[in-house]
């Protein structure tokens, strides 16, 4: 069917704690929250107050620069709390779920609608933010016709859910409708990337009007940014959009049923959790139900997302807007005597400086210890090995640190997102916060280009 693109660069981190392929019945959740940190660069304007009653699909807030981009409540209930952080920066809108009222946005076949009508529907229903754009890896800006839309149908991150299992358990057959809606938004193609074996899910295999690609290789082969780079890279002045596979279903569901419903299947994983299975959950739902009497001993870190790019949440915290998994990882706040000199039998590493590299062991326990202190860049030639893109990572990072806009542009800032550099950060013996630097570079570009 499709051509196979082989990537040699990258690294599969062999962390213990993969989820068993069993879907557990839904646990009732009453606390929902939308976290602003899920939308980098967003300046939000609230449309609700504490105590406001909302339905599933009611607007909670909108983007200050693009007021038509609305963010809506995933459930019906009452706004319990608006949490603010330092300098009163908005952190989270918390909703207590009550009742099952949802706003009906009306059904329609996207193929009979114009581009403007599809756009309007996605915007008014609050489904729009599931569309993200490259450059910048932010919520797509309306009024732009993207060159193409890219969807990754597999995930290579550590402990990532098996997307075939996820897709065969998702409610309803809305994928094709979702694709049709996306086709209306672009003049180009809708690309979908599968792993080397392709997919066993008939609904995906039988999709019409989709350009399929297959990728073989270690993480980050499943990152949509890496796939775009190898299919048709983003050059200056171009815009492409990306959508999570489960959100294509949610878009389809919106058009087929008229409701904003982003229910998804996620994996509960990690060495810090005992019962590792798949769950049905809506973005924003509190994870407390999943974790209840399930956490391992000692202090554990709850991460919405994977261990490379996820966000820390509290044990009652809200599941992230774009995530497909929850990872629980033991905290690593301990001292290790001569840790830098041990042979490292049980230490998984990218580097061949550890005995573990010669052992056939499959999976390793890991924790959140920093394993060293911050240093200047010293080692060269290794960051490239885990970034399967024609980009010089250290040169780009240094351009960002120097604030050289033109050089950043020349070195490929438009093609990258922080998640593509997560492995560079993981292997870095100088312990640089590489993802943060990349995001700050992207923010600089956004500011410069406006």
């Amino acid at each position: 069917m499709s051509t196979l693109i082989r990537l040699r660069k990258g690294l599969n981190i062999r962390l213990t704690g993969r989820a068993e392929k069993i879907l557990l019945p839904e646990t009732p959740v009453t606390r929902f929250g939308i976290r602003f940190a899920d939308f980098p660069g967003l300046v939000a304007r609230l449309e609700v107050k504490e105590g406001t009653e909302v339905r599933a699909g009611s607007v909670l807030f909108h983007d200050k620069s693009f007021p038509e981009i609305k963010f809506v409540s995933p459930v019906s209930g009452v706004v319990r709390e608006i949490i603010r952080g330092e300098k009163r920066v908005l952190t989270e809108v918390v909703i207590d779920q009550e009742g099952k009222e949802k706003i009906d946005f009306g059904t329609a076949d996207p193929l009979t609608l114009t581009r403007e009508e599809v756009t309007a529907r996605l915007l008014s229903s609050g489904m729009w933010p599931v569309l993200r754009q490259r450059p910048y890896h932010i919520v797509a800006r309306p009024g732009v016709v993207p060159r193409a839309v890219f969807i990754s149908a597999f995930d290579t991150a550590p402990l990532a859910p098996d997307m075939d299992f996820v897709m065969s358990n998702i409610h309803g057959n809305h994928l094709q409708t979702g694709i049709n809606a996306l086709l209306r938004l672009t003049d180009g193609k809708v690309h979908m990337s599968l792993d080397a074996e392709g997919t066993r899910v008939a609904e995906i295999r039988n999709l019409k009007d989709v350009e399929f690609h297959r990728f073989a290789g270690p993480h980050p082969a499943g990152n949509v940014g890496v796939q775009i780079h190898h299919i048709e890279p983003v050059s200056k002045g171009e815009v492409v959009w990306t959508v999570d596979l489960q959100d294509v279903v949610a878009i389809g569901r919106l058009f087929d049923t008229g409701y904003h419903d982003r229910e998804r299947v996620i994996a509960l994983t990690g060495p810090g959790i005992m019962n590792r299975k798949y769950h049905r959950i809506r973005p924003g739902a509190s994870v407390s139900g999943l974790l209840k009497s399930n956490l391992g001993e000692g202090r554990q870190r709850i991460i919405s997302g994977n261990v490379l790019t996820g966000k820390i949440i509290s044990p009652e915290g809200s599941f992230g807007f774009y995530d497909n998994m929850v990872t629980v990882l033991p905290e690593g706040d301990y001292h290790e005597l001569f840790g830098w000199a041990t042979p490292g039998l049980k230490k998984f590493s990218y580097w061949r400086a550890f005995v573990s590299k010669m052992l056939p062991r499959k999976e390793y326990a890991m924790d959140t210890n920093f394993h060293g202190g911050h240093r200047a860049f010293v080692i060269t030639g290794h960051y490239e090995n885990v970034l399967p893109m024609d980009i010089y990572p250290v040169h780009l990072l240094k351009a960002i640190m120097a604030g050289d806009i033109e050089l950043m542009e020349n070195l490929g800032i438009y093609e990258v997102a922080e998640e593509d550099f997560a492995l560079c950060e993981y292997i870095d013996p100088s312990k640089t916060e590489i993802q943060e630097i990349i995001r700050s570079g992207i923010n600089m570009m956004i500011k410069e280009m406006n």
């Binding site: 690593g332 830098w340 590493s349 400086a353 550890f354 394993h371 200047a376 070195l411 312990k431 943060e436």
Partner: protein
């Protein structure tokens, strides 16, 4: 061992801001993190980090230097017995004699260098950089054994302050610090760095049997003609006069193997530098005139500081080219320069040192062109699209 940790934690407040020993924070920090990997956890970005850190990286290089250091110690003793006509020393005698001569050099190098590093870290408010663990070991190994300790101290201070710290410290320097130290002495005190006597312990103070020449193979080739060179096997094993660590190619190759297996050293540079020197040597064999151009090409790989410089200095990631393509170019040019300087320059047999320092200066330029090619590819995409 928990006792140690408790003691350490108890002392910590003394060194924090406002503590009595605030001015020694960097020293405390250096020792504390040497003993224990800190309990620091990730706060942003990736939640897991590789176990690899700068300490392990640098210690691997130090371990890789050990074969050269141990053989160098033995060779100091061996050369001494030859020069002074001693016949009854055992291998261990020679080794201990050499090690005891070498230790003061290592101690001075570390005390002076690390002292400056601690001060620099304190001023900058950074943690101690481990880079000097390697530099401090390299410097004694590229010196003549009889170098006066005060000279060594001055050269170390020069290399660390002028060669590294004024550029912003480890990771920012242009020139390899260890070679900077050697070049400093070479041009400031040539009498102690060149000639027939400096390479053998004791000869500078007079003595030695008559008619004994302590010249290195490179000097022999220059002065007496290439017919008088030691055998290739002697040069490969290293039982010849020379800087402490440079003589034994086999010991250096063991170190190279450690660097290559762990991935700490760049195979690209080692390979291309070897090919560069071999190619240039062969070219001169074929096309060169004059006796010196007729040294068998492979001799260049086993003579003088070539092997040591290639494995431990040219591969220094900070001062070498940083792009993978750039590394091939940088390595090849270094190898070519080594042979050119050796063959065409009547004054200095110091081809390796000067070639690497020269290429250190050009490395950013090489990278610039490699990165520019990447930029052009990207721009071309825009135009064709």
């Amino acid at each position: 061992m928990n006792f140690l940790l408790k003691k350490m934690k108890k002392m910590e407040p003394l060194f924090e801001k406002g503590g009595r020993l605030e001015k020694l924070r960097s020293v405390y920090d250096g020792f504390a993190t040497f003993l224990y990997v800190p309990d620091k956890v990730t706060t942003k970005g990736s939640h897991i980090r590789d176990y690899m850190d700068m300490k392990r990286t640098m210690i691997i290089v130090v371990i890789a230097l050990m074969p050269a250091l141990l053989f160098g110690s033995y060779n100091i003793g061996l050369q001494h017995t030859r020069a002074f006509g001693i016949i009854d020393w055992t291998l261990m005698n020679m080794f201990w004699f050499g090690l005891l001569k070498l230790l003061p050099l290592i101690i001075v190098s570390y005390v002076v260098g690390l002292g400056i590093e601690f001060i620099a870290a304190q001023i900058r408010g950074h943690e101690i950089n481990e880079g000097y663990l390697v530099t401090g070991m390299l410097i004694p190994l590229i010196m003549p054994i009889d170098v006066p300790l005060w000279m060594l101290a001055v050269s170390v201070a020069f290399a660390v302050i002028i060669g590294k710290e004024i550029f912003g410290g480890t990771g920012m320097n242009i020139l390899n610090p260890a070679l900077t130290a050697r070049a400093f002495l070479f041009f400031s005190y040539p009498g102690w760095m060149t000639g027939d006597k400096v390479w053998i312990e004791g000869l500078m103070n007079g003595g030695g049997i008559d008619a004994f020449s302590g010249a290195t193979p490179l000097a022999v080739a220059k002065l007496d003609g290439i017919g008088h060179l030691p055998s290739a096997m002697d040069m490969f094993i290293g039982t010849i006069p020379g800087s402490v660590g440079e003589t034994s190619v086999i010991a250096i190759l063991i170190g190279a193997l450690i660097l290559l297996v762990t991935g700490v050293g760049s195979w690209r540079i080692m390979l291309s530098m070897t090919l560069g020197a071999l190619g240039m040597g062969l070219l001169l064999n074929v096309a060169g005139t004059g006796e010196y151009t007729q040294i068998p090409a492979y001799y260049h790989l086993i003579m003088g500081g070539f092997a040591f410089g290639m494995v431990f200095m040219a591969t220094d990631p900070v001062t070498a080219a940083q792009t993978n393509t750039g590394k091939f170019i940088y390595g090849a040019l270094t190898g070519i320069m080594v042979v050119i300087i050796r063959v065409f320059n009547p004054a200095y047999p110091e081809g390796t040192m000067l070639a690497i320092l020269l290429m250190n200066v050009f490395a950013p330029l090489i990278d610039h062109y490699v990165v520019n090619a990447n930029i052009k590819r990207r721009l071309k995409r825009v135009r064709t699209a």
